[in-house]
Symmetry: C2
């Protein structure tokens, strides 16, 4: 086999390990006038974090065999995938950033940081803001979805002195963080014991509407619902009603619909913290993308195929 050729976005280069036997052609992802590989045949095309505009031009790259996305989601690439080309998504690359935001908004909600943001803006030293009424430590936290994000959340929570209970699609043995991973069928029996629930599942037919009014009703008073998955995994209106009644609280990086419209009542519902889907893609994602891409290129060199192929055009 001749040396495979890979076109790689410039921002990934400083983080890409040397992969012997693979020729790397850098390209500027902001320069839409120059095609990745500049007209040369390219075996593997690595797309940048913001890939939207390149999707429609994949079919212009001569000789293309495989594409590595920089996102976990891949639905947006499918309509544009050239015939016979393999598509791999980015596995694990954004877990750190997403888990970090999950814990950040969880801590912010427990320690009343939004309240202090407002008293600071008003220039007032006001200790009545409930910042000492709750803690994350000692909380029983139910992590729903125990993939890369869920495990990264669990690692942070264990170090934060929480009691972590993990739930995944299928029951299985635990790891160094949790004794066992419960199956999703156990959710109704686990919700009543949860001070905090973190949703970290992919949105699939099986997880759409996973947490509805019935599930929310099983949570104890004052429980915190954290969503860093997708808005569609829960009934946002049922959550809003519970929060408006003062019974539950929420910290949401994702909503349904999204973007949340300017006049949506969720913005001003008491006890609801909202960030505008900023979980993924911090600077931490660059070295992790570089490591992942290096592994993918080595695999392609050795086998002629990528790992984590999610579709073929």
């Amino acid at each position: 086999m001749t040396s495979p050729v890979a076109a790689v976005p410039l921002p990934f280069l400083p983080h890409l390990p040397v992969v012997e036997g693979v020729e790397v052609l850098p390209y500027d992802p902001t320069d839409m006038d120059t095609l990745p590989g500049d007209g040369r045949e390219v075996d593997v095309l690595s797309l940048p974090f913001v890939a939207g505009r390149w999707m429609t031009r994949m079919d212009e790259v001569p000789g293309l065999r495989a594409v590595v996305l920089a996102s976990a989601g891949y639905e947006h690439a499918l309509p544009h995938l050239p015939s016979g080309v393999d598509l791999a998504n980015a596995v694990g690359v954004h877990d750190t950033a997403t888990a970090e935001l999950a814990v950040a908004i969880m801590l912010a909600a427990q320690r009343a940081l939004p309240t202090y943001a407002h008293t600071q803006a008003a220039g007032r030293w006001d200790r009545s803001g409930a910042g000492q009424r709750r803690s994350l430590a000692d909380s029983h936290v139910l992590v729903v979805g125990y993939g890369g994000v869920g495990r990264a959340v669990a690692r942070r929570l264990v170090a934060s002195e929480c009691q972590v209970v993990a739930v995944a699609s299928r029951e299985r043995e635990g790891d160094e963080l949790v004794e066992r991973v419960h199956g999703i069928d156990a959710l109704p029996t686990l919700l009543p014991g949860a001070d905090v629930v973190v949703l970290a599942v992919p949105l699939t037919d099986a997880t759409r509407g996973l947490v509805g009014a019935q599930e929310l009703a099983l949570l104890p008073d004052d429980a915190l619902v954290v969503n860093v998955a997708r808005g569609g995994v829960m009934d946002n209106e049922a959550l809003r009603v519970e929060c408006a009644a003062g019974r539950l609280r929420a910290a949401l990086d994702v909503t349904d619909p999204e973007p949340l419209p300017d006049d949506h009542p969720l913005w001003s519902t008491p006890g609801v913290l909202i960030t505008p889907h900023v979980g993924g893609g911090t600077p931490a994602s660059y070295p992790r993308m570089g490591t992942y891409l290096g592994r993918q290129l080595a695999t392609y060199r050795d086998t002629g195929h990528l790992e984590n192929v999610v579709a073929t055009g």
Copy 2:
């Protein structure tokens, strides 16, 4: 030795383990009309988290031998300590709550949560808020002060994929979290490599003004200064100047002066997050106080003295 008698605030009782051979007399710390022990002789007096009003009445408790504070600081108790009575402070009880807030405000600053609190209040989905520009993961964090709070911070940071460097008054071997603990003399050589500095030292003559203009100048651009110690361990005006210039950022639970006056310029300095000294005393402090008090009462029963005696009247 006859059974020692201990007067214990009611809120601590559910968390106090049974200490055989010690008679526990509960008292209501909100009822200033009834003396702890109700006139009986009391060997050990446990004071509540909010102890201010009881300080002046310690000398009314007959037979008193020792006092256990519920706070780490004890300066406020010294003027009121009756002659011959030992005073112990609360060691480790608030470490969890304080470390938790340190990490909460650190994450909030890195992920721009105050900005999102304001865009949420305005009902706007605005992703321009820099929440993805920085991460805590991969940050080099300098933890200054490696006692209970510093170690609890370090544990959370290691799980958050940070590079943690610890500094204490004296150089010593490390632990499971850091390879070694640097001596405070190394501070000038460590500051230039720190993305984040966390101050977690007690305020003493040795630490007053520890971080001044000179030390701040050694930090790299955009570094975050986190203070959960005491306002007096740093030069707050020098910090304000660096932040106002856009060179450094800060997340402060303690200030100097404190409370920060309504018209103080620090409130509105860009890149500065302020919480009003709410680090300690969350619900997590109750079980830890109960455990600590149980150990103290057992020690007193066995030896006739408390541990961690910081003063004798």
